[in-house]
Each structure stands twice: as structure tokens, then as C-alpha cells.
């Protein structure tokens, strides 16, 4: 009966919309969009467990394999809970330009009928799916950081750091870059500027970040860099063999990340439509180009193309296209991928030893550097003159005037604020934890391996 009534009301309102309210937009949820967003959310979960866990796990020594798997596993679970308690509310409700409010603490007020805005007027998705999709982003970002200081930090210290960093770095960044009221409010110029004034600080600055180049990758990369600088090098760095124990595992992990990334980027469109197709092809081409670029650079400079290099290249390309994937054209994406592949290769193989920090699994070298290139490069590849889509103007309902220099300054704002914000929060958090409980395990524990000393088990019995 209830459904009949709902159907009747819908029928009435639809018939009226044809005549009386031709201009009005009726918010509606589409089953195709909903189905796609459920799949996309699952794909992002696939990126974290097992994708990222295996990608990182293969690169450490066998005695630390389980510590990495466990860190990723538990961080993911912890962030999921924190997201539901206060994360979603603080990131995605209206507040100040820097941080949201508390109106949806404990997911208060959300029901199966609640809707979240997409990027098309009148098109919504169920809010629970939006909460879950954004949850996976909030969960993968802290997990990326552990690669920078793998093989030497206490499990307890990592969990406390992630709690602090998630609260004071991830949530404000997500709010600053992504929070807005949705497109429906942009009915005319005055309403548009009123709605714009409630958006996040960097959103108002015009920063383009489709799927998390700043919020996810630069954010995590900088935290990783600060972390490995404060924690210090692994025992035996540059003296003993610290080689990956299984590049095979790393390849499996990288491949799962690659597949899952289509959920990450294409899902960020929040709808299943033509733009989703563009995001998909951009993501695919950029990662393929970066794989070729890294492998090619390695082949020419180091003499042999390695599997680890190929896998690293794919990830570098995926990182770089993440902020740009909704505005670039396919050929622009290839160029962005090529640049990111080579730049990250140089960062990881030369810059790291030049500056002498021990970023164990290159969280900064790949996510930080690739993220910065992607964020700044977005201003270039988004240009309609270079095959990009330009930026949609929701007031005129058409593509607005595009100025590459103006957009580049906006992007630089995003990159700059992210570096400083994440850097300061990370520095304070690491120092605080170091003073209170200590960051590093004892030398004896580090030599024995974190699997035994921190988790009381061994990865391989052979």
C-alpha cells in the first residue's frame, strides 16, 4: 500500500512536471547509478584489502610480511568505524570552509530514503552508499602512509597516529576540497554564489580534484615523508640487503589496485553515464602509459626493465590521473601518465638516495610526487584546447571559460595547503607519540622482525 501510494505521488508529480513545473528539478535516485556505486565501493575495498596489503607486503622482507598485512587490515577496519561515528559528518556536512559539522554524528538522520547529490542536477544516489563509498577513501588513505616507515614502527604507535591524522588531516582536507551543497542549488548567479560560499575552502578556490589527488595521495605522501624523516632509517639501510621478499606478491597487489582503481576513479563520478566512460578510459590509458614510461626509463638508465618497476609505474600513473580523470581527454591522460611514470622513477631511484631518507616502500616517492604532478597537471590536461572537458558552470549549464593559468594557481593552492596542513599535523602527531610511547620497536625486535615481535606469528612455514 505504501509503495502504491509512493508510486501514485511520483506519477502525479511527474505528470505535473511536464506542464506546470517544466523548470523544476525533481530529485530522484536511479537504479543504474545505485548499482554502479555499490560495485565501485566494493572495488575500492578490493584495492585496500587485499590490493594495497599485498603490494606493500611483497616489498618488505619475509620477517615483516604479516606486520604490513595486519597494519593495512586493522587501519581499514578502524577507519571504517571512525568514519561512521564522526568522520562522515565532519567531512561532508556544512560547517566552516575548513571543517564540517556534527549534525550527522553516528550517521544520525540517514535513512534508506536519504539521498546524496551527484554532479548532475536532479540526480541523486542513496546516501548510505555515498557514506560507504567515501568511507573506503577515508580508509585507504591512512593505509597508504605505512609504506614510508614499514619494517620498524610499533603497531600501537601506528594506530594512534592514524587516529590523530585521520581526524585532523584527512577530514579537514576532504571537507576543504570536496564539500559542496550539490548542483541543484545553482539555479541562478545569486543562488550559485550563495551556495558556493558554503562549500569547502579549496572548493571555493576552484581546486579540481576528481578522485583524490590532493585529499588522498599528496595528503598520505606528505604524512609518509614526515614519518620516515622522524622515525629514521631501518637498521642496515644501505648496508644490508633489504630487498623485497616477493615481487610476485607485489605484482598481484598492484594488479588488484589497478582493477580496483576503476571503482575509485569512475565511482567518483557518482553516476553511470557518459562522463564515467571518459573517466574509465583516462584511468586505463594513464596507467598503461606510466607503466611503459617507468619500464622504459629503467631499461635505458639501469639496463634492465624490472617487474617491480612495471608495477610501480602502473601505480604512479593511477595516482597522477586520479585528480584529473574527470576533466582530461584520453590523449592528455597518456601524456600525464608518461610524465608521472618518469618523474616517480626519478624520485624513487635518485631523489631518495640524494636526500638520504628511508621511505621503505616509496609512499612519498609514488603517492606524494605522483599526486603533486597529477594535481598540477590537471590544470593543463583539463584545458578544452588540449582535449580536456573544461569546467562545467552549473549556473549557465554549459562549459565555462577556461584559463589554464588561473586553474594552475587554483591547483597550486590545493597542493600547497595539502602539503602544509598534512605536514604540520603529521609532524605534531609523530613527535607527540614518540614522546609518549615511542615510535620505533627496539633494535632487537627490528632484527627479529615485526611478525614475531609485534604479532607473535610467522608468515611462511616452509
Amino acid at each position: 500500500m505504501k509503495y502504491l501510494l509512493k508510486g501514485f505521488i511520483l506519477f502525479i508529480s511527474l505528470s505535473f512536471s511536464g506542464f506546470t513545473f517544466a523548470e523544476a528539478v525533481i530529485p530522484s535516485v536511479n537504479k543504474g547509478d545505485t548499482a554502479w556505486m555499490i560495485v565501485a565501493t566494493v572495488l575500492v575495498i578490493l584495492m585496500v584489502v587485499p590490493g594495497l596489503a599485498l603490494f606493500y607486503g611483497g616489498m618488505v622482507r619475509a620477517k615483516n610480511m604479516l606486520s604490513v598485512l595486519m597494519q593495512v587490515f586493522v587501519i581499514f577496519s578502524m577507519m571504517a568505524i571512525l568514519w561512521s561515528i564522526y568522520g562522515y559528518s565532519v567531512a561532508f556536512t556544512e560547517g566552516s570552509p575548513f571543517i564540517g559539522g556534527f549534525s550527522k554524528l553516528f550517521l544520525f538522520g540517514i535513512t534508506p530514503d536519504s539521498m546524496a547529490a551527484t554532479f548532475s542536477k536532479g540526480v541523486y544516489i542513496p546516501e548510505y552508499i555515498y557514506v560507504a563509498f567515501q568511507l573506503t577513501f577515508a580508509a585507504i588513505t591512512p593505509a597508504l602512509i605505512i609504506g614510508a616507515f614499514a619494517e620498524r614502527v610499533k603497531f600501537s604507535a601506528i594506530l594512534i597516529f592514524m587516529f590523530i591524522w585521520f581526524t585532523f588531516a584527512y577530514l579537514p582536507m576532504a571537507h576543504m576540497v570536496w564539500y559542496w551543497t550539490g548542483p541543484d542549488a545553482y539555479t541562478d548567479a545569486a543562488a550559485g554564489s550563495a551556495a558556493g560560499a558554503t562549500a569547502g575552502f579549496l572548493f571555493q578556490k576552484g581546486v579540481l580534484d576528481f578522485a583524490g589527488g590532493t585529499v588522498v595521495h599528496i595528503n598520505a605522501g606528505i604524512a609518509g615523508l614526515i614519518g620516515c624523516l622522524i622515525v629514521g632509517k631501518r637498521i642496515g639501510y644501505k648496508k644490508e640487503a633489504l630487498a623485497p621478499h616477493s615481487v610476485t606478491m607485489t605484482m598481484i597487489g598492484a594488479s588488484l589496485l589497478w582493477v580496483g582503481w576503476f571503482g575509485f576513479n569512475v565511482g567518483s563520478n557518482l553516476e553511470a553515464n557518459g562522463l564515467s566512460g571518459l573517466v574509465f578510459i583516462n584511468t586505463l590509458l594513464a596507467s598503461a602509459a606510466a607503466t611503459l614510461a617507468w619500464s622504459g626509463a629503467e631499461w635505458i638508465i639501469r639496463g634492465k626493465p624490472s617487474m617491480l618497476g612495471g608495477a610501480s609505474g602502473a601505480i604512479a600513473g593511477l595516482v597522477a590521473i586520479t585528480p584529473a580523470c574527470g576533466w582530461a581527454g584520453p590523449m592528455g591522460s597518456i601524456v600525464l601518465g608518461l610524465v608521472a611514470g618518469i618523474a616517480c622513477f626519478v624520485a624513487v631511484t635518485s631523489l631518495k638516495s640524494l636526500l638520504g631518507y628511508d621511505d621503505s616502500l616509496d609512499a612519498f616517492g609514488v603517492h606524494g610526487v605522483g599526486g603533486i604532478i597529477g594535481a598540477l597537471g590537471t590544470a593543463v590536461v583539463a584545458s578544452p584546447a588540449l582535449g580536456g572537458t573544461g569546467v562545467w558552470d552549473y549556473v549557465t549549464n554549459s562549459v565555462g571559460e577556461y584559463s589554464m593559468s588561473t586553474q594552475f594557481i587554483s591547483q597550486a593552492w590545493g597542493v600547497g595547503v595539502c602539503i602544509i596542513w598534512s605536514g604540520v599535523v603529521s609532524y605534531i602527531a609523530f613527535k607527540l607519540i614518540d614522546i609518549v610511547i615511542g615510535l620505533r620497536v627496539s633494535e632487537e625486535s627490528e632484527r627479529e622482525g615485526l611478525d614475531i615481535s609485534e604479532h607473535g606469528e610467522t608468515a611462511y612455514h616452509m
Binding site: 640487503a241 630487498a243 623485497p244 639501469r302 624490472s306 618497476g309 610501480s312 624513487v348 631511484t349 616517492g365
Partner: protein, 112 residues
């Protein structure tokens, strides 16, 4: 009786076993080992970090033979394990004081 210990390249193991079977050797013991000789190690490169691998994998073949078979066994192992390239391995020959077949208690040449 002699104990012949041959260190050979792992991919030559089947050829060595076949050659020894052909001349009537009825059993060998094989161990996967690592070591270095004139071939030295190789370098591995992981994201720009270079590691020298000093010890290379080899197969160690141990067999006990009667005195009259020693020179023939050495000859066929040398021939089968030879690739002409550095790292083909070595053969060590030592005197063997006693052999016992555990199941029957036979000793000496009878236990071979």
C-alpha cells in the same frame, strides 16, 4: 671406496643423474646449496637500491662408489655438467672408511 661430492649447476642435475645411472651408480643424494667461486655473485636492483647477491644456487650431488668406478664416475660427471661457462662447479673426492646399509646391516662394497 670413495665419496664423490660434485657441485654442479642446478639445471645440469638431470644430465648428471642420467650419466651416473648409465654407468651403474645405484644411488645419489642431492642437496640444494648456495655458494660462490670464480663466477662470483650478481647484483639485483629494486627501485634503485642495488643489492649484491654473493651466493648463487647450486646442486650438490653426493655419491659413494667402489674404487674401480671412481675415475669413470668423475669422467661422466665432468662431461654431463660441463657447459663451458664459468660457474660449472667442482668435484671433490674423499676416502670413505665404511658404508652400512641400514635395512640389512651389510657393510663395505656390499652396501653400495
Amino acid at each position: 671406496m670413495k665419496l664423490i661430492t660434485a657441485i654442479v649447476k642446478p639445471f645440469k642435475l638431470d644430465d648428471v643423474r642420467e650419466a651416473l645411472t648409465d654407468i651403474g651408480v645405484s644411488g645419489v643424494t642431492v642437496t640444494e646449496v648456495k655458494g660462490f667461486g670464480r663466477q662470483k655473485g650478481h647484483t639485483e636492483l629494486y627501485r634503485g637500491a642495488e643489492y649484491v647477491v654473493d651466493f648463487l644456487p647450486k646442486a650438490k650431488v653426493e655419491l659413494a662408489v667402489a674404487d674401480q668406478l671412481v675415475s669413470q664416475a668423475i669422467e661422466v660427471i665432468t662431461k654431463a655438467a660441463n657447459s663451458g661457462k664459468i660457474g660449472d662447479g667442482k668435484i671433490f673426492v674423499t676416502n670413505l672408511e665404511q658404508i652400512v646399509r641400514i635395512r640389512t646391516g651389510e657393510t663395505g662394497d656390499d652396501a653400495l
